[in-house]
């Protein structure tokens, strides 16, 4: 099994969610993080101009069976990309085992 972690723009979340749904990936967890990257945002507050690269992003953690890896990545890249700097990243790592808490069973079948 693989863990696909994607860091995306918050405004792209519902598009990505639908794209994942369309390819059959309905199970994942997400939360909000702050990201440092190439993108900068300029602001003015009470006359002080400042630019920050600490931008709010959404972090998706999706554990999939190996044969879903490519499909999932493709769906995210296509739906989350705007072409502007700051679209985010995807990281893939290995998951050794997984369990469904409700039943206690383990293995790839528990992923949905």
């Amino acid at each position: 099994m693989k863990k696909v972690e994607a860091i995306i723009r918050k405004s792209k979340f519902s598009t990505v969610k639908e794209a994942l749904h369309d390819v059959g990936v309905n199970f994942f967890s997400y939360w909000d993080v702050t990201g440092l990257g190439n993108e900068k945002e300029g602001h003015v507050y009470r006359g002080v101009a400042f630019s920050t690269s600490d931008i709010q992003r959404r972090y998706l953690s999706i554990v999939v069976n190996d044969d879903f890896e490519a499909i999932t990545i493709k769906a995210i890249v296509e739906s989350a990309s705007t072409g502007d700097v700051g679209d985010g990243k995807i990281f893939v790592s290995n998951i050794e085992e997984c369990y469904r808490i409700r039943t206690g069973e383990k293995g790839g079948d528990t992923l949905n």
Binding site: K10, S11, S14, D32, G42, H43, V44, Y45, Q56
Partner: protein, 394 residues
């Protein structure tokens, strides 16, 4: 009177909290900015032109003006000698004026462009509202016709409500509000503030209705306060019972809207009703609210805070109720009320349509999609309302 003015002023805080409470966190600053703009510019405009448009003295009954621009102020400067009523009156009415625009602000929240909205406010508060007001309170043709509106169910609430309806229709719904034609829930981000807003509004109504007695005669004023409070209570309880029966859950926002509906409903006839009448009017307003909110959804109109249901629908109901209940009830009065409602409908729909349509075709009235998704606060204000809090955006 002066205290009532202060309370009416305080209603702006109530509106602001209610509106931000029932919308999403990412547009909070934008809504507050609009409302603060309305209060401040509203007062200045009312000083500049509004007051003399609304109370023109002798006029043809449809449109009159006691002097323009800064000249009006100069004129006023003389008139100030007439005594305190002039001053207090101006301020009290000036606080009212802005209210009509605040109603619109809530309905168009989360997607309207700031500058076009400001232009609308300037025209509507500066010109349209005072003209509309002069028809009745300025002694215009509706006043002569026998139309009655004690404290503004029509003159304030419907005038705002019609413009809200037109604006919502021209503007379209928020992204995500309708999916495959079915309305979706977009919950408000801070219900405690919305609740505080409603209680502050109720408090403000003590001043709004109490002050509209335009005298400190304690008998009349205290009766008005009693009818006001009973209608509010009845509206809330009715809305709570109906919405709980229909939807099988205890929806606080409906309860709150019911209270407001009751308040708006009693406003036209607060001094004409006994307590029993007030309770009935309020309760019917509360029931109306629940159905109106879901009707507006079904019409694919997107009104995040329920402004149209509260101010327009209950405003009409309250105006008509003057012909049905209380001291003035009667067929001919009902007809006068109907004519009044109709006259305001035509005038407000027409003028607000022209304003918003011209704005839409020229500068545009809707923010770009990305701005709407990421929030107006980030784009138009470059800030967040709650920068220290971690959000769950949707």
């Amino acid at each position: 009177m002066m205290i009532c003015t202060a309370l009416v002023f305080f209603m702006h805080l109530g509106f602001s909290l209610l509106e931000i409470g029932l919308t999403r966190q990412k547009n909070t600053l934008n809504i507050l900015f609009k409302n603060i703009f309305i209060i401040t510019i509203g007062l200045l405009l009312y000083c500049l032109v509004g007051f003399n448009l609304m109370y023109p003295g002798n006029f043809n009954g449809f449109f009159g003006f006691a002097g323009f621009g800064l000249d009006a102020i100069a004129a006023a400067d003389l008139a100030y000698n007439e005594g305190y009523t002039y001053w207090t009156d101006f301020l009290f009415q000036g606080m009212f004026a802005a209210t009509a625009a605040t109603i619109v602000s809530g309905a168009v929240a989360e997607r309207i462009k700031l500058i076009p909205f400001m232009i609308f406010v300037i025209i509507y508060v500066g010109v349209i509202y005072p003209i509309a007001g002069s028809w009745k309170w300025g002694g215009g043709f509706l006043d002569q016709l026998g139309f009655y509106d004690f404290a503004g169910s029509t003159l304030v609430h419907s005038v705002g409500g019609w413009a809200a309806l037109v604006a919502v229709w021209l503007l379209g719904s928020r992204i995500g509000k309708f999916k495959d034609g079915k309305p979706q829930a977009i919950p408000g981000h801070n219900v405690p503030l919305a609740t505080a807003g409603v209680l502050i509004l109720w408090l403000g109504w003590f001043g709004f209705n109490g002050g509209s007695v335009l005298s400190a005669e304690p008998g009349a004023t205290s009766l008005v306060l009693v009818t006001t409070c009973l209608a509010a209570a009845a509206g809330g309880v009715a809305a709570f019972l109906v919405s709980t029966a229909l939807y099988k859950n205890f929806d606080l926002t409906m309860f709150l809207n019911g209270i407001l509906g009751g308040l708006v409903g009693i406003t036209a006839g607060a001094d004409q009703m006994g307590p029993t009448d007030a309770i009935i009017i309020g309760a019917i307003a509360g029931i109306i609210i629940v159905f109106a909110v879901s009707l507006i959804d079904r019409l694919k109109l997107d009104d995040p805070v329920g402004a149209i249901a509260v101010h327009l629908v209950c405003g009409i109901w309250g105006t008509l109720a003057v012909g049905i209940f209380g001291a003035m009830a009667g067929w001919s009065q009902f007809l006068s009320q109907l004519i009044g409602v109709g006259a305001y409908a035509v005038f407000c729909i027409a003028t607000s349509f022209i304003i918003f349509y011209v704005l839409k075709k020229t500068v545009g009235i809707r923010v770009p999609e990305r701005e709407e998704l990421e929030g107006l606060d980030a784009h138009e204000h470059g800030m967040s309302a709650y920068p220290d809090f971690r959000m769950n955006e949707h």
